[in-house]
Point group: C2
Chain length 373, copies 2
């Protein structure tokens, strides 16, 4: 496959270079793709040599890093097979980053915050990657990080890698791609990974289960705003940040802070041994950004010394495994034509109160089991 | 099986009659139990004739009602088979009750509340059943409704049926038994079913998914108490009740009410179109009990006219079916000796970062699929 087989997604600025590390790859029919075995490595694929990409990723070659992530994000079976080889080779070098999830309503100023925080971290010598999980994003636009005017300074930095949300597919698919991108980026030496999410569907829960620290970005306002934010998100946070605490918002921000501090007490802390902090910032002026980083580092120190940090990572890895197994099993089950036929009949019977759910489920499971060796 | 094969559980009062509708049934070896097919109906089992029990349940025969529930709660495969026949026959006559879940810490006064509410409802002509879901309960004692001194008046009433929590087994098993008992009780004409739960594990979530209306019982006190209640429960409630609003507690109760009313605003309402209400009551003096019932009836009117009531019931039935299927599939998967062997190896590799969760899960699913026809 040649460079010419790639197309720029249309949300990229005309002048955009490698910092917009996404390309549109032509799809392939499943039949054709299945011809490729995971070990195949013909000369036709020399551009994709896993060894070359792995080496490039570890040596800081941005183009090859971008290519590795493109492969991880690809829906082509051929690319998936190559991505798997790359991931397995990079896995031993991954894990050494702080993974930070950032959520909040559109307009809360997440991008400005990420840009301000990211630039400050790069100045301190960090390598920062920015990913996004937005199951609603489409190549044709609407991707939260596809906005042409956003994160301009940050994406121009040598030590920063900005990647829009992988597009298409289910939330589970998007989450899988993001998790695997984290592995690649960590192996490439990125020590701080910021993962942005929008309040769509279950994307926050997905992101929460792949990060160490989870930040909720809000804007100041009276009590009514509280109801504007998606209920349930607060229970996932390690820190609530009232952004836009500037100018005439200042007083409202302090008031909001007090309200959220009180609200936090009603919630069960997500991270063992850590009470969520509430702070005010102004991403625009930079006020409070240092404090945010101090809190994140304090979180890291506290949870690493208690072991909760490592415990959470292990639990996340096992929970993820179990999740993929569960999803896979359910897919196998509900895609089985015999099951589908019977399920449709039983579903109607359940809804009209003609059969007990217990009995219906037992019948279906028996049918499923009868198909096993 | 003769009446002599039954034993009274030791938490029953010596003088306890049929109102404590539980008996200890001798266990049976699986091998022996499997001899019984679900259609078998030998003379040995004449006491258990499903037809006789179904007839008795519908005619208000308390002894046969108790027997039906004993069969539903039994872990014996023989009893399960008979219970299934009974349930399928009763199913068309079930569904016509208000199912009310009641949760709260021990000491909040749930029993007194249930007794006061139950007696008042019976006076108004209702038939009231009281069930419990307490996965920690044991025949040997500790069952929340096994307490000899509790609900004495209520359990003596003709139009009331009090049943302690089914014992033993997993929470899932206890929940299954309770759901099936609801079917039996509804077919027996009980129009109000109160289901008590204690704040243990996930029992509230289980109860929430089988009731129409969910009530959280709290006691008055300063803000600190808020942290004493299990976080997350508030999100499940349709009504928060501050009990023991009497004597010197009165002022504290009103204060608590205000606090919870404010707290409710931070939460996503569980039932569509219904904002959780907060009230103060004194189960001891009866104050507020009428108001509670008014709220429950208002809830019924609002949700029935919007259709949310029926929609929830349907969703509950389908969700329950899917839950049993999911649990069943996972059980089939993780009990498979080939899977177990491989899982143990892969688990260690995941925890030591030697394999990606995606790859491990895929390997296991492939192994599972290879065993299918």
């Amino acid at each position: 496959m040649n460079e010419g087989d790639f197309k720029k997604p249309d949300w990229q600025p005309e002048s955009g270079g490698k910092e917009f590390a996404a390309r549109i790859v032509k799809g392939e029919s499943q039949a054709k793709a299945q011809k490729y075995s995971s070990s195949e490595n013909s000369s036709e694929n020399s551009n994709f040599s896993p060894e070359k990409i792995v080496e490039g990723v570890q040596n800081g070659n941005r183009a090859l890093l971008a290519r590795a992530i493109t492969l991880v994000e690809s829906n082509s079976l051929k690319h998936r097979a190559i991505a798997k080889q790359i991931l397995n080779k990079l896995l031993p070098y991954s894990g050494n980053s702080l993974r930070i999830g950032i959520t909040g309503m559109p307009g809360a100023g997440k991008s400005t915050l990420i840009e301000t925080l990211g630039l400050s971290l790069i100045k301190q010598g960090h390598k920062v990657a920015v990913l996004a999980v937005d199951p609603s994003s489409k190549i044709s636009g609407g991707s939260i990080l596809g906005d042409k005017t956003r994160m301009e300074k940050l994406s121009g930095e040598e030590n920063c890698f900005v990647r829009p949300s992988p597009t298409g597919g289910t939330l589970g698919g998007v989450a899988r791609k993001t998790r695997e991108s984290i592995t690649v980026l960590e192996a490439a030496g990125y020590d701080t990974i910021l993962i942005e999410t929008v309040g769509v569907g279950q994307s926050e829960t997905e992101v929460r289960s792949m990060v160490d620290f989870f930040l909720l970005v809000l804007i100041p306002g009276a009590g009514d705003e509280l109801q504007g934010i998606k209920k349930g998100i607060m229970e996932l946070t390690d820190c609530i940040l009232i952004n836009k605490a500037e100018g005439e918002n200042l007083q409202a921000a302090e008031l909001s802070k007090k309200e959220y501090e009180s609200a936090v007490h009603y919630l069960r802390p997500y991270t063992k041994g850590w009470t969520p902090k509430v702070i005010t910032t102004s991403a625009l002026t930079g006020k409070g950004i240092d404090q945010l980083w101090k809190i994140i580092k304090e979180f890291e120190t506290v949870t690493k010394s208690s072991g909760v940090f490592y415990e959470n990572r292990k639990l996340q890895a096992l929970a993820w495994t179990k999740k993929i197994i569960e999803d896979g099993l359910l897919e196998i089950f509900y895609k089985d034509p015999h099951i589908r036929e019977k399920y449709d009949i039983l579903r109607e019977k359940i809804l009209s109160g003609k059969i007990l759910p217990t009995s219906a489920a037992e019948e279906l499971l028996e049918l499923f089991l009868s198909k096993r060796k």
